[in-house]
């Protein structure tokens, strides 16, 4: 019975493994720290409650879509429909929450739409064996069209108290994010969550070892959809209304954040903490450039350059060695 390690040794092993998983993203954490310091210097209000709240609110939707993209990329998939799904979540929230359904009904509708769209996409990709990139590209038109049907032009409303709660002067967004990270940790401990990395790293081997590869991948798509429409709900609360194209920029940014965070395109490589750090870096980058007075145009140019640089430099070093 000595093969069962004691609880104490088990705990030590856990932290050892977690520390090893940090190795790939350690330099990223340093860059994020540097940007955080730059942000704090430019914007000293960060250390007040409302300043911290505003800071986390600008990060929160990007963090959610980065997680939505990362969970797909870990299973070897990808989605080019994240932006359209965020828009759909926003317009559903803006049209239902002020109506007879109320906030709970509206939130349920947003969650159901996200889970449903994600599961349908996952079913098409996994069970019908179509390439994810093309399915989600076509899906972005279908989902974007649905968003236009729900709300043809910007409008609708989110109850003011909800906007104040989520995007007011309290760091509710940060608390929510921590709760989501905790749920992610719990999900990784379930059979489906455990299958996630295996399904991405070596699907054939995992399949032959009895891992529910297909179920894990469909579940990943469903969770990704839920996170995306959730980000849409938050964006609607932030702006107080809905806009059928508000989410478009999130597609590129979600991929950029996940890749900055060290998630590999081939599946099974990377960690969620990396993706979160990547999204934080992207969010900080945009804020710092804004404070430095870059025009939106110069921001595009700088963002393109920084993303290539950040992705290329570690790869380049690997090749040199």
């Amino acid at each position: 019975m000595s093969i069962i390690p004691s609880a104490r040794a088990d705990g030590a092993l856990y932290w050892q493994v977690q520390a090893r998983r940090n190795i790939g993203v350690r330099s990223l954490f340093l860059v994020v720290l540097a940007f955080l310091i730059a942000y704090a210097v430019l914007f000293p209000g960060l250390f007040t409650v409302s300043g911290f709240a505003k800071f986390t609110q600008s990060w929160f939707p990007l963090a959610l879509v980065a997680m939505a993209q990362a969970i797909l990329m870990l299973t070897g998939g990808i989605s080019l429909a994240i932006g359209a799904t965020v828009s759909l979540g926003a317009v559903i929230a803006a049209t239902t929450m002020a109506g007879p359904l109320g906030v709970p009904g509206g939130a349920a509708a947003v969650a159901l739409a996200g889970l449903g769209i994600g599961a349908a996409t996952g079913f098409i990709v996994v069970r019908l064996r179509l390439p994810a990139i093309v399915v989600t590209l076509a899906g972005s038109f279908i989902i974007g069209g649905a968003a236009l049907l729900v709300l043809p032009r910007p409008g609708g409303a989110v109850p003011a108290w909800l906007s104040d709660l989520l995007a007011g002067d309290t760091p509710a967004a940060f608390v929510l994010l921590m709760a989501i990270v905790l749920l992610w940790k719990l999900y990784l401990a379930t059979p489906l969550g455990l299958s996630l990395y295996a399904a991405g790293e070596n699907p054939v081997g995992a399949y032959r070892s009895g891992v529910p590869v297909d179920a894990a991948r469909v579940a990943a798509y469903a969770i990704s959809g839920l996170l995306s429409t959730g980000a849409g709900l938050f964006v609607a609360a932030q702006t107080g209304s809905g806009d059928p194209v508000i989410g478009n920029a999130f597609t590129l940014n979600s991929i950029a954040a996940a890749v900055l965070g060290g998630i590999g395109f081939l599946g099974g490589q990377g960690t969620m903490r990396g993706a979160l750090a990547g999204s934080l870096l992207l969010s900080l980058m945009i804020s710092v450039m804004f404070f430095l007075g870059f025009t939106p145009v110069a921001q595009y140019v700088a963002q393109g350059l920084i993303i290539i640089g950040a992705v290329a430099i570690p790869q380049f070093r690997k090749v040199q060695q």
Binding site: I78, I124, L128, R129, L130, P131, I133, V134, V135, L137, A138, G139, S140, F141, I142, I143, G144, G145, A146, A147, L148, L149, P152, P203, V204, Y207, V213, L252, I255, A256, V259, F265, V297, A298, Q299, Y300, V301, Q303, G304, L305, I307, I308, V311, A312, Q315, F316, K318, V319
Partner: protein, 323 residues
């Protein structure tokens, strides 16, 4: 002896009839026949000629995309490159250049260079193609707004005007250009060592590299070709439109990838042909034209477009089962 030739010929005929390009072509013809019964004027020669002329732009963008996809990559910057071409051409006009040929060549050199930079990032810096080309698109988008300032620019270039409007022997010049490019692309892809290297690289880059395929230069060439054909498409679309503006190339990103995949080329690389992309491009403009005929709201139009592409993918884009 005769029987042997007959059966070989029969086998050959069957192989062509069941191939992906032929299947896509058959779908196009079936849709055209059905649509001309449903809507008067759809099947008129003038309308079909117009559809093929629109398809030429997609076909040109998709030519480079086919090379990149077969080589195992993807080019998400084609839309931005089309816009770069359509906007920088009117800005580059010289007094000493009455035909406009020099400025067209200069623009094509510029877009080819953009493609080669994509290739440099992919081959030397080892950035994933999707990230490299998306970042390039973001970068170009910013640059374009700086250069053009958001207003439309009018082209006063004889060659560009001729490409967009002339009809030698009743056939639009754009279609003639597409035919010429198609012949070149098909020859390059299927009858040269370069073409063979692309397929080898897409099927298994490591094996290709160990067998002596020069990965770096081939990658540069593939992305360079994509920049070149996207630039050519920009010239054509500028000629047809008369004006260039930021966003003029946007529809061609999804269209080029969809045309490639609908034509039976595997998005995973190593398998496919431009012969399928050609009917794929015509199929896409046909779908768009049909949706316009239906006269639905923008939302429904978008849903129809996405669903039709998804439905067609089920016919032609499935991957192998895992066992």
């Amino acid at each position: 002896m005769t029987a042997w030739t007959d059966s070989a010929g029969g086998r050959r005929a069957r192989a062509i009839l069941t191939s992906r390009p032929f299947l896509t072509l058959a779908i196009v013809v079936a849709v055209w026949i059905a649509a001309s019964f449903a809507s008067r004027g759809f099947g008129a020669y003038g309308h079909l000629r117009y559809l093929v002329e629109l398809g030429a732009v997609i076909g040109l963008v998709a030519a480079g995309q086919t090379f990149v996809v077969i080589a195992g990559g993807i080019d998400l910057s084609v839309a931005a490159i089309v816009t770069v071409s359509a906007i920088s051409l009117p800005l580059l006009s010289w007094q000493a250049d009455p035909t406009g040929l020099a400025s067209v060549l200069a623009v094509l050199a510029l877009t080819t260079a953009i493609g080669v930079i994509n290739g440099l990032g992919v081959a030397l810096l080892r950035v994933h193609p999707m990230i490299m080309t998306l970042a390039m698109a973001t970068f170009l988008q910013g640059l374009l707004i700086i250069i053009a300032g958001g207003s439309a620019v009018t082209a006063e270039n004889l060659l560009v005007h001729w490409l967009g409007n002339a009809r030698p022997a009743g056939i639009p010049a754009g279609i003639l250009l597409w035919i010429a490019v198609s012949v070149l692309v098909l020859t390059l892809m299927h009858a040269t060592p370069f073409g063979a290297r692309i397929f080898a690289m897409g099927a298994n880059p490591l094996a290709a590299s160990l067998s002596g395929v020069p990965i770096t230069s081939t990658t540069l060439a593939v992305y360079g070709i994509s920049g070149f054909t996207a630039g050519l498409a920009g010239v054509l679309v500028l000629g047809m439109n008369g004006q260039g503006y930021v966003g003029i190339g946007d529809p061609y990103l999804l269209a080029s990838i969809a045309a490639v995949v609908l034509g039976g080329t595997s998005i995973l690389g190593g398998l496919g042909t431009y012969a399928g992309t050609i009917p794929g491009a015509i199929l896409l403009v046909t779908i768009t034209a049909l949706i316009t005929v239906v006269n639905a709201s923008p939302g429904w139009r978008s849903i129809l477009f996405g669903s039709l592409i998804l439905g067609l993918l089920l016919l032609s884009g499935r991957e192998r089962a895992r066992r």
